[in-house]
Amino acid sequence: MSETKQFLYVNRRAPYGTIYAWEALEVVLIGAAFEQDVSLAFLDDGVFQLTKGQDTAGVGMKNFSPTYSALGDYEVTKIYVEKESLEERGLTMDDLQHLTYEDEDDDWAEKDSIRLVSRAELAEIMAGQDVMFNF
């Protein structure tokens, strides 16, 4: 592909009430093959997508939350979580999965993928993007 664009996938919804979260993840996984500069943002109820210990047995749906831990292998290494959205829902970083990637520029050191950002910081990140996918 001739040019690299900044892609931000914006995830705003809880994981199982609607299919948006899962089908957004499918776009991210397919899109990884296009080698763009990809970031993900989780805000509003979207922060629930990253919570650990999800159990979908009661609703009879596929638990797709383990897929997020594979994002590092797809070279998706920038995952922004909005601080205010967590706080408004009584969540902390301890409630979220520990997502990591191996940094090829730093002798494959394991690093955290999740970056906790304020609402104002996230607005700046959004302003710097070429393409935003909203889910």
Binding site: K5, E23, I30, A33, Q36, F133
Partner: protein
């Protein structure tokens, strides 16, 4: 300007498809290029020819088909989303052993890569949905 348009909601239930249609029509009239229209989530339901709205209402599906024919639009339905929701063309019927097809004229079924490619190749990706 070159646009790719994404439609995320089904017809009639939600205004997204109507708004996307009028956006595409207006953009073409102003001389802009529509690289692709990509139907995702329940938006794939905009591509079934079996839709039969009441006679005094708009026909969302045939309206897209007519616009595609007039302007050579590339109307793409996501294959994974289509399989979940039962939007079927000849290839999908063959591959998945289905006894019928329902895809509307002017639409084609393809992969999510078509959406990502559209976002890369276009000046703007415009998303219609909630």
């Amino acid at each position: 300007m070159k646009f790719t348009v994404q439609v995320n909601e089904g017809p009639y239930q939600h205004q997204a498809s109507d708004s996307a249609f009028f956006f595409v029509k207006a953009a073409l009239e102003k001389g802009h290029e529509i690289f692709r229209v990509f139907f995702y989530h329940d938006g794939v339901n905009n591509g079934t020819r079996l839709t039969t709205p009441p006679q005094d209402d708009r026909n969302v599906v045939t309206r897209w088909s007519a616009l595609a024919e007039e302007h050579g639009l590339d109307l793409v339905i996501c294959v994974a989303a289509a399989q979940r929701r039962g939007i079927v063309d000849d290839g999908e019927a063959e591959r998945n052993g289905k006894d019928a097809t329902n895809i509307a004229p002017g639409f084609r079924i393809s992969g999510l890569g078509q959406l990502v490619e559209g976002a890369i190749q276009s000046d703007r990706l415009v998303v219609f949905g909630d």
